[in-house]
């Protein structure tokens, strides 16, 4: 079965590539082996919070050129400033138009979000009910914070948030407290209500009466002058709508915080992207896994390989072919990379990795190490066009995107979603340039910002 563009991997990188492909008029398929890591993400888009050496970044655009000079091998440096920011602008518009507004600071600065533990983490784009604190934190305008504990909900603890926030020097003058609220719908369940996850509560809260009851309770514990920290418990396809309703009923300012898995904020991004992809005619092969591919020497470019076709577990004897492929298979969690006893491997094509060292170099002595975990930066080795290599030979119609790439640390840098979006966007650009179709090449050059 032939497609113009085949994307291996259904996460934020995969769906970015998929939507861009469709936009360019390409017949596009995504092969996704299970749902993605977005299910535990903050639902914000992390562009660049720290340099690889641990320095804090206030405004990613302002320091971008310096960053590129200092870290030339970083995916952002290879993608280039223009495309990085064009891709994020594009992503922001897509999601906003689809009903998930993504907001940023006017001056292009990062902003701080309060985490489920009551610490602060910087990010670049956030959903509407995520309170954005300025990087220059002394300039925040909060007078009072009320942290809401949902009674019997084990996956969010308001006291921990409160006590940690109280330690933050810039909040010395802020009145911070926590309060308990019950969800009516918990009673009357046969199952133990204390075992409900965020997704279960979200399902209860699709009921109008439940929303109204919650609104009444919230109004009793906070005023419109307060910042009300609420665990993310709305979703089911209507997460933001319900928050909008709660807001209109209470006039309270919410800060929505992700909980222990699953994260309703992250799910919102994934379900929106999948929905868009299918509505626009993309072919989604769900729950399928690419098992291997056929590579051949490229007649046109000596010393290079092209990927001819791929085989999946479900489609068995019917290979899928495309002129170009985007490889967004994810990291260890998604099995885009696997760790054998002493070797890291990319399991589909056995592409060259950026690391050949022994297992004891993959981790830090401490779990919460200041310099993060080395295995996060390990991944597929790519050239400047994000083509990977097979035993040193470039595979020139395969473009890698997202967390299977080596050479960056998504957690330490706070760059996970940014790298995923920009490398996927960039990969589609490369793919359009690479295509034999001149009409599509034309689209590619237009879309380069």
């Amino acid at each position: 079965m032939k497609f113009d563009s085949i994307i291996i991997g259904g996460g934020i990188a995969g769906y970015t590539a998929g939507l861009r492909s469709l936009e360019a008029g390409l017949k596009t398929a995504i092969i996704s082996n299970g749902q993605s890591a977005l299910h535990f993400s903050s639902g914000s888009i992390d562009l660049l919070s720290h340099t690889p050496t641990g320095k804090i970044i206030r405004n990613p655009k302002v320091i971008f050129d310096k960053f590129t000079t200092e870290f030339p091998a970083h995916p952002y440096s290879k993608v280039g400033k223009g495309t990085v920011f064009a891709s994020l602008k594009w992503y922001k518009n897509e999601l906003t138009n689809a009903g998930i507004p993504l907001l940023q600071q006017d001056n292009g600065d990062n902003h701080l979000r309060i985490t489920p533990l009551g610490t602060l983490k910087s990010t670049w784009l956030s959903q509407p009910y995520v309170q954005q604190l300025p990087m220059r934190l002394t300039q925040h305008a909060i007078k009072r914070i009320v942290v809401v504990q949902i009674n019997d909900f084990r996956d969010f603890n308001a006291k921990m948030v409160t006590d940690n926030l109280l330690q933050i020097p810039e909040f010395t003058d802020v009145e911070i407290s926590h309060t308990n609220i019950s969800i009516d719908g918990f009673s009357g369940l046969k199952r133990n209500a204390c075992e409900l996850r965020s997704i279960d509560i979200a399902r209860i809260l699709t009921d109008e009466d439940e929303i109204k009851a919650l609104a009444t309770k919230l109004t009793a514990v906070a005023t419109p002058n307060d910042l009300v920290i609420l665990p993310a418990i709305t979703g089911n396809g209507m997460g933001l709508k319900i928050l909008n309703k709660l807001h209109s009923l209470t006039h309270l300012t919410f800060h929505e915080v992700p909980t222990m898995p699953p994260s309703m904020l992250g799910i919102r991004l994934e379900e929106t992207m999948i929905d868009l992809f299918i509505k626009r005619g993309g072919m989604l092969l769900k729950g399928d896994q690419v098992t291997h591919g056929d590579m051949a020497e490229d007649d046109g470019h000596s010393g290079e390989l092209t990927l001819k076709r791929i085989y999946t577990r479900n489609l068995e004897t019917m290979p899928l072919t495309a002129d170009n492929y985007i490889f967004a298979s994810g990291s260890f969690f998604n099995k885009g990379l696997i760790a054998h006893h002493n070797k890291l491997q990319e399991p589909v094509f056995d592409l060259d990795m950026n690391n050949h060292e022994e297992r004891n170099t993959w981790y830090s002595p401490q779990f919460f190490a200041d310099n993060s975990q080395p295995f996060l930066s390990l991944g597929i080795k790519t050239n400047h066009r994000f083509n990977p290599m097979l035993k040193g030979k470039v595979v020139n119609n395969l473009f890698c995107a997202g967390s299977n790439l080596g050479g960056y640390d998504p957690i330490a840098e706070g760059s996970g979603s940014g790298v995923a979006i920009s490398t996927a966007y960039h990969a589609v650009n490369q793919l359009l340039k690479n295509t034999k179709n001149s009409h599509l090449q034309h689209i590619a050059s237009d879309s380069l910002a």
Binding site: M1, A29, N33, G34, Q35, S36, H39, F40, L189, K190, R191, E195, L196, R197, I199, D200, R203, I204, N236, P261, P262, I267, D275, I278, M283, L285, K286, G287, D288, Q289, T312, R313, N314, L315, E316, T317, M318, F333, N334, K335
Partner: protein, 402 residues
């Protein structure tokens, strides 16, 4: 501890399966696939005391498996556990489960007197009685039997069919045989138009899926061994592909036999193919019959088991070859029927709640009719929306032109 059990260890406790479980969504009292499957199995190995009766709330839709990033066969783990530990209480519900799942027995008894049986099961009084006694929900219409089975009809065609140079073997399943032989006839028509003749297996029993779902694993295993034997004979004799029109029979023959029933089908597994996969490949290779344009809009519903097999792409692409047809692919969600599950009174409400989203999508879509590959999905959509639902093969048969 067999191979299926050990697959649960890959579970890294991410909770994604619970997000996509339609039962957990509709019924907050279901502990969810994570607890019932991999968590539960690990504890059940420690002691059978950790078997939870709530596992019978699982519909075996396998959406948990489709969503799992660790490739854990959550649905299989639950099905095997139910087979091992679920206690069958002697009560009217057991009789109901027996009747609903022993399709060969009741199918062969009913088809000779179908008009009478159908009239009876359609009667409001009977439905109320069944509701009160054996807990078959009165809102549900039991499937109609055909007056005369498919095999009975086929006997007259066997000769003509054998004249074709190319042959395939058709595993017709219970639905075609006892309820809707027309689908089988449609298949024969389509394949003949492609110069392919249709053989039946010498003998065939129900694939076993309702038996598995209702806890009759021993009987299901016997059926499986029987079917594998006859399929092996057919392959050895004729070397034909074995095709199925039912997405669930297809999954069961290929996956459930080895994974849940521990029946070895390796000799013929690569010969088993779902019909749309076969047809699309033929079309792509140039063997496509003439199709008259169908200037209609259809909505396509992906059956859960077809999604799990990853074969919906074939049905969708196949539909897209029909000239003039506007194909709207619905957001994939479970219809709630889940085979015999939705007929049971204790499940009816949940079943309706699960399917609500799909019915809403269909309502909004303004299509002329619905297409789906699974018979129980078809019944569910027919019953709960205004749209007529037909099988893709039946649509093809209708638009064959000379």
């Amino acid at each position: 501890m067999d191979l299926v059990s050990t697959r649960f260890e890959k579970c890294i406790k991410c909770t994604i399966c619970t997000v996509y479980c339609p039962v957990a969504k509709a019924n907050p009292n279901y502990p969810g696939p994570k607890e019932s499957g991999p968590d539960g199995e690990r504890l059940r190995i420690k002691s059978p005391e950790y078997y939870d009766e709530a596992l019978k709330l699982c519909t075996n839709c396998k959406r948990c498996e489709t969503a799992c990033p660790s490739n854990v066969n959550v649905g299989d783990i639950i099905a095997v556990a139910r087979g091992k530990f679920e206690k069958k209480k002697i009560n009217p519900k057991l009789m109901r489960d027996y009747i609903l799942s022993h399709t060969d027995l009741f199918g062969s008894l009913s088809t000779p007197v179908a008009p009478l049986v159908n009239k009876i099961t359609d009667s409001k009084i009977i439905k109320t009685i069944m509701d009160k006694t054996v807990a078959i929900d009165k809102h549900k219409s039991l499937p109609k039997y055909s007056f005369g089975s498919f095999r009975h009809w086929y006997k007259k065609q066997a000769n003509t069919q054998s004249q074709f140079e190319r042959q395939i073997s058709y595993f017709h399943g219970c639905y075609v045989n006892y309820n809707n032989p027309q689908l089988g006839k449609d298949l024969v028509k389509v394949l003949n138009a492609m110069n392919i003749g249709v053989k039946l297996l010498k003998k065939e029993k129900c694939c076993g899926v309702p038996l598995i779902a209702n806890g009759f694993h021993d009987k299901a295993r016997k059926n499986a061994e029987f079917n594998v034997k006859h399929m092996t004979d057919a392959v050895e004799q004729f070397n034909t592909p074995i095709l199925s029109t039912s997405s669930t029979c297809s999954l069961t023959l290929k996956q459930e036999y080895p994974h849940v029933l521990n029946v070895d089908n390796s000799k013929i597994s690569n010969k088993l193919e779902f019909i749309t996969s076969f047809l699309l490949r033929e079309f792509m290779n140039g063997n496509m019959p003439n199709l008259a344009p169908v200037n209609k809009t259809i909505v396509y519903h992906t059956p859960c088991h077809l999604e799990r097999s990853g074969l919906a792409i074939f049905t969708i692409e196949l539909l897209r070859t029909i000239p003039g047809l506007k194909v709207i692919v619905l957001n994939s969600e479970c219809c709630g029927s889940a085979g015999t599950y939705g007929f049971k009174k204790e499940n009816y409400e949940v079943s309706m709640k699960i399917g609500k989203g799909l019915f809403e999508q269909i309502k909004q879509a303004n299509a002329d009719f619905a297409i789906t590959d699974c018979e129980t999905c078809k019944w569910q959509i027919d019953e709960n929306t205004d749209l007529e639902t037909i099988h893709p093969v039946s649509l093809l048969a209708q638009c064959l032109s000379e």
